[in-house]
Symmetry: C2
Subunit: 469 residues, 2 copies
């Protein structure tokens, strides 16, 4: 049979197919240039006074939703459901890499739990009834009930409970996943800020004592702080309500923003920060220092819960203690909104008409703009392409992060305007000074708001500092 199989494979692997593949570069050799005209990023940028898409009629919009629709980043299908278009997937994959690094730095182990969660399991925890209409529910062909998991406390606790012989020596267990979640929002709105399908990073931790679990809680919170700091996002960590998840201690990570749906009260001295939903009545001054609290609105991007044994006692998730006795695991759970962080970043960093990304996770780091076809500087096109290719060779980690705006029927000014709106951290232009000897290129550092004039070597030197996850 082996001979037979080898024979059958010949047509698929023969010279003809290799020839076809060679046209596209393949994985070996110099990566081909990414041409903007070939990228699927259907722009609906406003031209002059004409407005781009504003969401569905009657749907409330916010800056990030509008910019993401106009910039070809998302496309709506049903209320609260979006296609994530290629640049969004790129940003999301970068964000996921950063999250993986942070979670693994605190001992996180990644798994992947089913979306279909059995009604039986959710009835046992009481959440089947408690969640009400927020839960998407369905029946399979045998009439067994399921919900589409918005979080996975029940499933992961049952998983750990099934591991007979779990020893205290194996704890803490810090298990996480980064997967699509579902919530039937009463009013999906604001694009990816409040959608019915979204990606979330959720971690579940299992410790041998309350003290150990509190230590885990602090470590995961610190990892969240590190993440937002690396993204360059200003955030506040506030005390929060535990809601339907339950537990006794909870914090939210909030990005202050006018569009935020949470009201926060903050001590100007940094002694106290709370979501107002946790406060009884009219608290106006800091319980520690007495300073008057300031109110702001925030977008929740992370949420942590100290759960105790709420779920482990239902599923009987036990470990053998040092005294060889079965003991319930002390749990915590920790969520980061992946798609929500993308939108919230755009919400807080962008201007009215120009997207700004956290540099680390921008879909593309670089846009190259060659001269207009037929212009006096036209010969500069080859020089710019040389910068593109040499940069890709010198800084291979940026090779796939560079786009060449080959729409040379348009002026540089028009294309630069688009590049500014789309928010590439760096834009390299072959302008008038490309005809000098040596050629000089215009480099826009958009997040710093500065323009530099540099030779090819200067461009490569400058960009050698750019990080990608």
């Amino acid at each position: 049979m082996e001979a037979l199989l080898r024979r059958c494979r010949v047509p698929a692997l023969g010279a003809r197919h290799c020839g076809i593949r060679a046209q596209h570069g393949g994985t070996a050799g110099r990566p081909r240039r990414l041409l903007l005209s070939q990228l699927f990023q259907p722009l609906a940028l406003p031209v002059g006074g004409q407005a781009g898409p504003e969401g569905r009629p009657g749907e409330p919009t916010c800056r990030s939703q509008r910019l993401m629709l106009q910039g070809g980043l998302i496309h709506p299908t049903s209320p609260g459901c979006y296609c994530y278009l290629p640049p969004t997937v790129r940003a999301m994959e970068k964000l996921i890499k950063v999250m993986d690094e942070e979670m693994q730095a605190v001992g996180g182990q990644k798994l992947n739990l089913p979306s279909l969660c059995s009604a039986e399991l959710w009835r046992a925890s009481g959440r089947w009834d408690q969640m009400g209409p927020e839960l998407f529910r369905l029946l399979d062909r045998h009439n067994h009930g399921y919900c589409l998991g918005p979080t996975h406390e029940e499933v992961v606790t049952a998983l750990v409970a099934s591991q007979s012989g779990l020893s205290y020596r194996q704890l803490p267990l810090r298990l996480y996943q980064i997967t699509r979640k579902f919530r039937d929002e009463p009013k999906p709105r604001f694009g990816l800020l409040r959608s019915r399908e979204f990606y979330m990073k959720d971690m579940y931790t299992f410790d041998s004592s309350e003290e150990a679990a509190r230590h885990t809680y602090e470590q995961v919170c610190a990892a969240y702080c590190s993440l937002f700091t690396r993204l360059g996002l200003r955030f506040v960590k506030v005390q929060a309500a535990t809601g339907s998840i339950g537990g006794t201690t909870s914090h939210e990570f909030q990005l202050p923003a006018d569009i935020g749906e949470d009201r926060l009260l903050l001590c100007p001295q940094g002694h106290f920060a709370a979501n107002v939903e946790t406060l009884n009545g009219e608290q106006t001054s800091c319980p520690t220092c007495g300073e008057k609290l300031t109110e702001t609105k925030g977008i929740e991007v992370g949420h942590t819960f100290y759960l105790g044994t709420k779920y482990s006692s239902v599923a009987n998730a036990v470990f053998s203690s040092a005294e060889n006795k079965p003991q319930l695991a002390e749990m915590g759970c920790y969520g980061l909104g992946v798609t929500r962080i993308l939108a919230a970043s755009i919400e807080v960093l962008s201007t009215e008409d120009s997207i700004r990304w956290p540099s680390l996770i921008a879909p593309y780091q670089l846009c190259f703009i060659p001269p207009k076809r037929g212009s006096r500087e036209e010969e500069g096109a080859a020089l710019l392409e040389r910068v593109y290719d040499d940069l890709a060779e010198a800084l291979p980690h940026l090779a796939g992060d560079s786009v060449l705006d080959d729409r040379t029927q348009l002026t540089i000014g028009k294309r630069l305007k688009d590049a500014k709106r789309l928010g590439y951290p760096y834009v390299v232009v072959a302008g008038k000074r490309v005809c000098e000897d040596p050629p000089v290129f215009e480099v826009w550092n958009q997040n710093a708001g500065e323009v530099l004039f540099l030779t090819k070597e200067g461009v490569i030197e400058l960009l050698s500092k750019v990080q990608v996850p």
Copy 2:
């Protein structure tokens, strides 16, 4: 407000939290060693005559399902739904990287489409009725109907149709995603080979003519051949039925295996290969050369369809032709089963009691086994750890791919047996010869079935050839 926020962040970023993080190594500096005792991989390996889990009572099992359950790779929740445990997630992420490379080498652009697909859209294509009970269906809180997408022809075609002004110059468009899919199988079985939730890579292509679409079809098939070849899997490409997806040409990529659910007829000379479901009656000889056809069974791991305008005509997915006339796009769709390829690889490569992975996507490339605690060779433990650390420094791409089996209460023999069952491509043992000068280590190349005795430098030299995606 800025001052206020800065203040609020101080506690989160202060020395106390940094101190906590430092204990875990973080992303900078030498990566900590991965200790097997701390990894969440609940083994249920058979000990002596005692059998491990065999699936649920009455559920048919196969080799890959049994080995994946025993090896702590998957854990069942509901029929056809599994938790993917950490080693499986690692293998899956590696496989996805290889798929991304292959898809992007043929111009694929990655997006991500919603799981909730509106009934309306599926009624328009006729598949709402046609798919019958295989479709998971649900209502949202407003009584709007949805299915959980098993594939996304309707959604992606509507997306492309919504792009007014699409020009023939922008074609071909080759859009793909790698996401979780749903199918209410009548009989979920064989673990990840036929489950109700699974990951699939699905590509949808849009071309300006039938000729161009046929060219795309060949290119994507060639990319599939390249993928399976890189994984070292023997496969056959056979003509296939188009089923509920539709279209006029279709091929399956099959891994020959006794457990396979498809019956294939192959010409021993390689002139002809077909799924029997495409043949009328009793075809026994090759239509080209007249040779007698051989029958084999196969596991379908990929499926390609030339669709023509079946979906583009429903959604009116048009582009402007060179003559500036609207013209329907010619489509193709292409699927690879991600989780199914993982299980099928184990099915065809493993022995009865030992997992074997395609080397490229093994969860971990390397397992280090130090001597038993209290044995004569005990001092060799430090020497082996030195190999681990120096290898991680010399070959940083393998740093995260190495595991130290620190269960030193067990004999080397017992741990080596586990390592063989779990299928690390390489196992490095500090055996008797670790006491020689210079120390000599035992290296098991499990996929080649050979043992080498090497110095530290020899180990690093040997492993420098190991590829990770």
